[in-house]
């Protein structure tokens, strides 16, 4: 919820490198000849047709023949997302087009969208050059832009499903979909928050509402779902939520972010965890705070990963520290998985919450140093 934190301090007068490489989404290139690489995803396997390929524009065609919603990623070192498709429903196929320079990568399917996924090695050889030092920051923003686009696409689909369940008065389904739809919101929360007028309408908690204003959005429906269980009158609120989400998706996709904003966004996401999720404040009715926690963490990691080539050049020790601390938080959080999702906040003891809080602080402190490295 609340105000913009993805802000570049006006006084800092720092670099603006956004858009150096354009959107880089891959839709502007006809790429190489040859058919797409088939990926067979199931609930327990992730079969990639070719694991040694030529550098350049690569297309994957991911078919989900499992029973769970799946995701497919191509990661560079440090889980830097080179490309991804989200929200592949059972029975569906979706394409991923991605520009891959020579190097070693990992592919991953994430059935149920959970965990590190089912990983496989991918070797890319050829002549497409690696990034020149000064271009690394520009690539970072292009890379993160792609991430935002993939997240917003899934946010929209999942919100549509959630809204449909609410309007169908299907309480059980709406409860299941609620934390899932929010995952995509929480991963890019700082981007969404920078649109101050829409954020409170979509994600505002009850207390943000001033006298005379209406309490709307995810948390209003959350309250009805988990307190009275009566959502029969929430149709209009659900419709409005979808309208607002569509508006924010359009704005988020048009937004050009700077590397400094990525750095601050990565920190802001952890601050969200430290101030709102760890306390159970955010999801006070559903207690699905750990879903948000994980999504914030993933979003933070994606922003740092986008900056990784630049950080490797400028401060390799910091990168090592971040890798260590990200792994530590993931391990601490991983203890609280429940199926494809997460335990409720209320199911954790004070000591377990304290452990999570400590691990978030241990990560957030070095992450707060990233902005200075990027700015220099």
């Amino acid at each position: 919820m609340r105000t913009t934190r993805f802000v570049v301090p006006a006084a800092a007068g720092v670099l603006v490198v956004a858009g150096l490489t354009g959107c880089g989404g891959g839709d502007d290139s006809d790429a190489k000849a040859g058919g797409p690489i088939a990926v067979k995803a199931t609930d327990s396997a992730c079969e990639v047709d070719s694991t040694e390929i030529e550098a350049g524009q690569v297309t994957f065609k991911v078919t989900n023949s499992g029973s769970k919603v799946n995701e497919f990623y191509v990661y560079a070192a440090g889980d830097r997302v080179m490309g991804e498709v989200e929200n592949i429903a059972p029975g569906l196929s979706r394409e991923l087009r991605v520009e891959l320079p020579a190097g070693t990568y990992e592919t991953a399917c994430k059935p149920g969208m959970s965990g590190r996924g089912i990983r496989g090695a991918l070797k890319v050889s050829g002549t497409v050059a690696t990034v020149a030092p000064d271009a690394a920051l520009g690539q970072a923003t292009a890379s993160y832009q792609r991430y935002v686009q993939s997240q917003t696409a899934a946010l929209l689909t999942r919100t549509e499903e959630f809204v449909a369940a609410v309007k169908a008065n299907d309480v059980a389904r709406a409860k299941d979909l609620y934390p899932v739809a929010r995952t995509y919101w929480e991963r890019i929360e700082p981007v969404a928050e920078s649109f101050g007028d829409l954020d409170p309408k979509i994600d505002g908690r009850e207390e943000v509402v001033e006298e005379g204003m209406q309490f709307t959005g995810f948390h209003r429906i959350e309250k009805d779902l988990w307190t009275t269980g009566d959502i029969s009158k929430d149709g209009a609120i659900a419709d409005q939520l979808l309208v607002d989400v569509k508006a924010i998706v359009a704005k988020a996709n048009a937004e050009k972010l700077t590397p400094l904003q990525l750095a601050n966004g990565a920190k802001a996401l952890l601050d969200e965890v430290a101030s709102g999720k760890i306390t159970g404040e955010e999801e006070r009715y559903s207690h699905t705070d750990l879903w948000d926690f994980n999504a914030n963490l993933e979003g933070s990691k994606a922003a740092i990963a986008a900056l990784r080539p630049a950080l490797e050049q400028r401060s390799p020790d910091l990168v090592k520290q971040l890798d260590t601390e990200f792994a530590a938080v993931e391990a601490a959080l991983g203890k609280h998985r429940a199926g494809d999702g997460w335990k409720l906040h209320t199911q954790l003891s004070k000591a377990e919450l304290k452990e999570l809080s400590d691990s978030i602080n241990a990560l957030a402190e070095p992450i707060s140093k990233v902005a200075a490295v990027v700015a220099r």
Binding site: T3, T4, A10, A11, E207, E210, K267, D271, S357, A372
Partner: protein, 433 residues
């Protein structure tokens, strides 16, 4: 403890140790201006004299209650009581007892006429004793009446004073982002004790609470340290827990005209018994210091609208330079952001409305998650909250970039009557007579 210690110098003299100290050079207790150093204090403007009198007494009697424009002391113990009796006479008797005890304690004496160590061995002392040997420490005790004293939640006129409720004591609205805890908010009567020694402030509240047993019940209380505002030009501007100077543009005791206009209720304001009094708003504002501490310096300064070092408004050089809200930077953006705290809170942006703030830092230990349970206990006095605190806080709640790092968890509103004139006067006399 029944055996008197032979090296207790005050034992058997009939004068407590506190008394022995404070009566030196003074005549009768409780007369305005009598206390050591008080004259120097009222002179204001002289930091050296303020330091010298840090341990002295602030006069209790006067036109206004002490503890409002009194140069802000370093420590606070604030308490809000619920009145638990239905008997108006008992309440009135308590207010009279409290007034007498407060007059004694602010002069550096024991709460009761007998004292902590001079009574009969079989009786509990009428002072709790932890301030024995301590100087007055500029203790001030200030009282206010909450809206619920006039009418309860069911609308009942509790003590026959409902028609005397001032219009300015209008319930505060719900501000955007308020996360108030009812058990930490409101109250029928508040008592603010400020001193330069925490033990002296705590002693004062503890003894008043004890005197009030059966008539009032403590609803919530708050300890504070490190004043976060200066209320006198003789004081340097203090820093809050964000590390920034706070209260640079505060109303000061020396601004006589402004105080009449902005601080003291005037004849004709609508409640005669409040003339010379002031309205008090308290807010307990938790600061999320861990996340603040890892935000970049430039972002912190942008949020506040001042530099962290000197406290100068952004774009200016010195702390007391006037902020230029129209100035634009090279990028065409305002030098002081639209969402900067200093812009939104400034009188120029609020129809000239100002507050006299005398808030305190608080740290209530940690919260079990390893986070400091810390922040600002905001205290503001004013002539009419409807024209001062409410519009200012409405703007801040909507737009202040600092909100990201704040949680308002407690709120209080009280009408603080004018000063106790003399030994025959008492807190609330004009209200209950």
């Amino acid at each position: 403890m029944s055996e008197p210690s032979t090296d207790e110098p005050t034992r058997g003299t009939g004068v407590s140790r506190r008394r022995a100290i404070t009566l030196a050079g003074a005549g009768v207790a409780g007369v305005a201006g009598v206390a050591v150093g008080a004259g120097a204090l009222l002179g204001g403007g002289d930091q050296a004299s303020a330091t010298e009198t840090a341990a002295g007494a602030v006069p209790f009697h006067g036109e206004h209650q002490a503890g409002i424009t009194t140069p802000a002391q370093d420590r606070l113990h604030f308490v809000a009581f619920d009145v638990i009796t239905k008997d108006r006479a008992r309440l009135v008797a308590l207010l009279q007892e409290w007034t007498a005890a407060a007059a004694r304690m602010t002069a550096g004496k024991d709460a009761g006429v007998i004292g902590a160590v001079d009574g009969v061995p079989e009786a509990p002392p009428d002072d709790t004793g932890e301030a024995l040997g301590l100087p007055p420490s500029q203790l001030t005790i200030t009282v206010g009446f909450g809206p619920t004293l006039f009418r309860d939640a069911q609308g009942r006129d509790r003590f026959g004073i409902a028609d005397k409720r001032p219009a300015a004591l209008a319930d505060l609205p719900h501000f955007a982002g308020d996360a108030l805890k009812p058990e930490l908010s409101g109250g029928d009567i508040c008592v603010q004790a400020c001193a330069n020694d925490p033990q002296v402030a705590v002693h004062a509240i503890r003894n008043l609470a004890r005197i009030g047993m059966g008539v009032v019940s403590v609803r919530w209380s708050q300890l504070g340290f490190g004043r976060t505002s200066s209320t006198s030009r003789g004081q340097a501007t203090a820093r809050n827990l964000f590390g920034f100077k706070d209260g640079t543009a505060n109303l000061k005791a020396e601004d006589a005209d402004l105080l009449r206009e902005q601080l003291w209720a005037q004849p004709g304001d609508g409640a005669d018994w409040m003339t010379g009094g002031s309205y008090l708003v308290t807010r307990k504002i938790r600061m999320l210091v861990e996340t603040w501490d890892r935000s970049p310096l430039a972002e912190q300064e942008m949020i506040v609208g001042r530099t962290k070092g000197s406290g100068a408004p952004l774009g200016k050089r010195a702390e007391f330079d006037e902020p230029d809200f129209a100035a634009k930077g090279d990028d065409g953006e305002p030098v002081i952001a639209e969402t900067a705290h200093v812009r939104l809170a400034h009188p120029d942006q609020n129809d000239g409305a100002r507050l006299l703030r005398r808030g305190y830092n608080f740290v209530d230990g940690s919260d079990g998650l390893g986070r400091l349970d810390a922040g600002l206990f905001f205290i503001a006095y004013q002539r009419d909250p409807r024209r001062q605190f409410v519009p200012i806080q409405t703007r801040l709640a909507r737009n202040d970039a600092m909100n990201e790092y704040l949680r308002h968890v407690s709120s209080g509103l009280f009408a603080c009557p004018p000063g106790v004139r003399d030994a025959a006067d008492w807190w609330g006399r004009a209200l209950f007579s």
